[in-house]
Symmetry: C2
Subunit: 366 residues, 2 copies
């Protein structure tokens, strides 16, 4: 069966950096091999740099991005805890489901999809919640929220509330300063702006959150107390086997992070910005409307309103079959009225912009 090449310009996964692919195919190491453990430690250090945090507990969890969300709630929600969730898209919606499974008293703060999180409304939702959770870059709508503002406001109010941020679509595509923003718990995915195949969830937790974790969570696989003994050596230098780490995926992430740091985080963010702005300008020149609120549009993921009388699925099918380009549809009630176009990782380049604009213009006859 012939292999198929795609330009993955949807909401993720994106195409992988060549370094990430080479990492996957490198000779296999055991998960307790000193060479592998050194690579795992360096991966943690690189993630700290990319995320702007000094958190000791910064590691890739062994699952796709969603496992990061699960780990964030199962380890930190005690039954009856009040968790305020800012819902401005699918992933905020999902946080409510996940948190409730662990016994949280969820307080939802609903927003119109496409709008950023309203910090004042989140603050007003509850005077003293255990956790406030929000999505930095909403993959379902293409909107960025101001986590820095949210963190500062929460910290000013009290020292109690933990801030939990979903960074799945922001990591590697823009500058993040978790410590400066007062974020306590964050997770991400590898398959977006990091340019690595899906399969790992970078995760980080602050000291103050760590001391409030659930002692024996209702999960063995994601019990951070157990995982921590493998990844950080439990602070004692010894390492306890937990589960077999996905070694090839870790090698891939390690290599891609090395490339990102070589390029520079600021330079990579600028590259994503330049490509995203060129795309958004081009789409508007074509007469298309953008979906996400102006001023809060992601550069790495652009949401576009499907024009009237255009069959959304048909266009996506033609892009895939005739041009080898994958873009995404919308989510939920916007399934057929929004397209999502990602320029992430290796695809954040002006060549991809022209490839997409040209192909779309041809199909739409504009």
């Amino acid at each position: 069966m012939a292999l198929v090449e795609r330009s993955l310009l949807g909401p993720g996964p994106t195409n992988a950096y060549p370094e990430a692919t080479a990492g996957l195919a490198a000779p296999m190491l055991g998960h307790l091999d000193p060479e592998f453990l050194a690579m795992l430690d360096e991966t943690g250090r690189r993630l700290r740099t990319v995320w702007g945090t000094g958190n000791l507990r910064t590691l890739p969890l062994s699952g796709t991005g969603s496992i990061g969300m699960e780990a964030a709630f199962v380890n930190f929600v005690h039954p009856g805890d009040v968790v305020v969730v800012a819902v401005n898209g699918l992933f905020g919606e999902r946080m409510c489901d996940v948190a409730s499974r662990y016994g949280a008293e969820v307080v939802r703060v609903d927003h119109t999809w496409g709008q950023p999180v309203d910090v004042e409304r989140v603050l007003a939702a509850h005077p003293s919640p255990s956790i406030v959770a929000a999505v930095h870059a909403e993959t379902s709508t293409g909107v960025r929220s101001d986590i820095e503002h949210l963190g500062a406001a929460l910290r000013e109010r009290d020292e109690r509330t933990l801030l939990l941020a979903d960074c799945v679509t922001s990591i590697g595509g823009e500058q993040i300063d978790l410590d400066g923003w007062n974020v306590d718990i964050a997770y991400a995915g590898t398959q977006k702006c990091l340019g690595v195949p899906p399969g790992l969830a970078p995760f980080t937790v602050s000291e103050r959150a760590w001391h409030r974790r659930v002692e024996k969570p209702t999960t063995w696989y994601l019990d951070l107390g157990l995982i921590g003994n493998y990844v950080t050596g439990g602070g004692s230098g010894g390492r306890a086997y937990h589960h077999t780490a996905p070694t090839a995926m870790v090698a891939s992430l390690h290599a891609a992070l090395g490339r990102l740091l070589e390029e520079g985080i600021a330079a990579a963010a600028e590259r994503h910005r330049e490509a995203g702005e060129a795309l958004q300008t081009g789409l508007q020149e074509m007469g298309l409307d953008l979906f996400a609120a102006e001023g809060n549009r992601l550069h790495q993921l652009t949401s576009v309103v499907v024009p009237d009388h255009v069959d959304s699925a048909d266009v996506r099918k033609r892009l895939l079959n005739d041009y080898g380009i994958e873009i995404g549809g919308g989510v939920g009630q916007y399934a057929n009225t929004v397209w999502r176009i990602g320029l992430m990782g290796p695809n954040a380049g002006l060549d991809r912009v022209e490839l997409l604009l040209g192909s779309l213009r041809r199909i739409l006859g504009r």
Copy 2:
């Protein structure tokens, strides 16, 4: 930094088949691409063949082997359910921990490590449990248990009890007939005899178990009701996005399963048997004692008693540094008194046997 090549002759991960490595490095596909979905469906069919089951719900879960164990309990243990666990090594031990996190009333049936599961004692432990769980091939001790006998005895007694089997170290290395053995729930890992890097947990569940699953388990990521709508299309032909599947890992597993079926399951089992017997004979000729009970020794994973006055860790270090060979230590109280030597997947060959025997003989001076 130079790449390092290892002969991974421990309890797993093993080296990958070349097809598995090529699968990892193949051009990336999106997780909703028709080409990818066809590959995922075929992976399910291939797993059914390897496992000897017609179960519709047969799929790779997005995590390493242990996530299979977690999924097996979180989806099928209702609070208060009696779960009988046959404990004859680390993984039976872990089953008790995992099952108890979901509210099971766990009834342990402890065995001396290195011994197979005693079916009569398991039956006598409780007259009518919801689930009986056992490990087919105990990775911690190198012993095989008779799941067929256990399944027949349980089914003869009543129709109520579900049989749950851990097949992490058996899949691909020996013949398995889940349907013939009356197994309802089984999971595996990719990094043993399938010769794929760690990162996926093949999973299967029978119809009768499916109808008794927990409606809303305390996990979102491993909620089989939700995952099933993506993998099987919910039976209606439509597919609902759940989480982003680890596409590169699925491509790798798909390719390795293709190779296994081309070789033939029986032929692959015979190759593992031949290599394992040659190794065990050679070790005994060297004057070493085997740990697992005679008659129940795995071929794919051999446990050896470390001779008196030999420093177990030092020998493993010399094997690694001087010969590039990884073998495993023992587990728990046997950490320093047992070695575990795996001949799995591509390493199940007579060349690996001689490589290991020669190197070990040199180090031990025998």
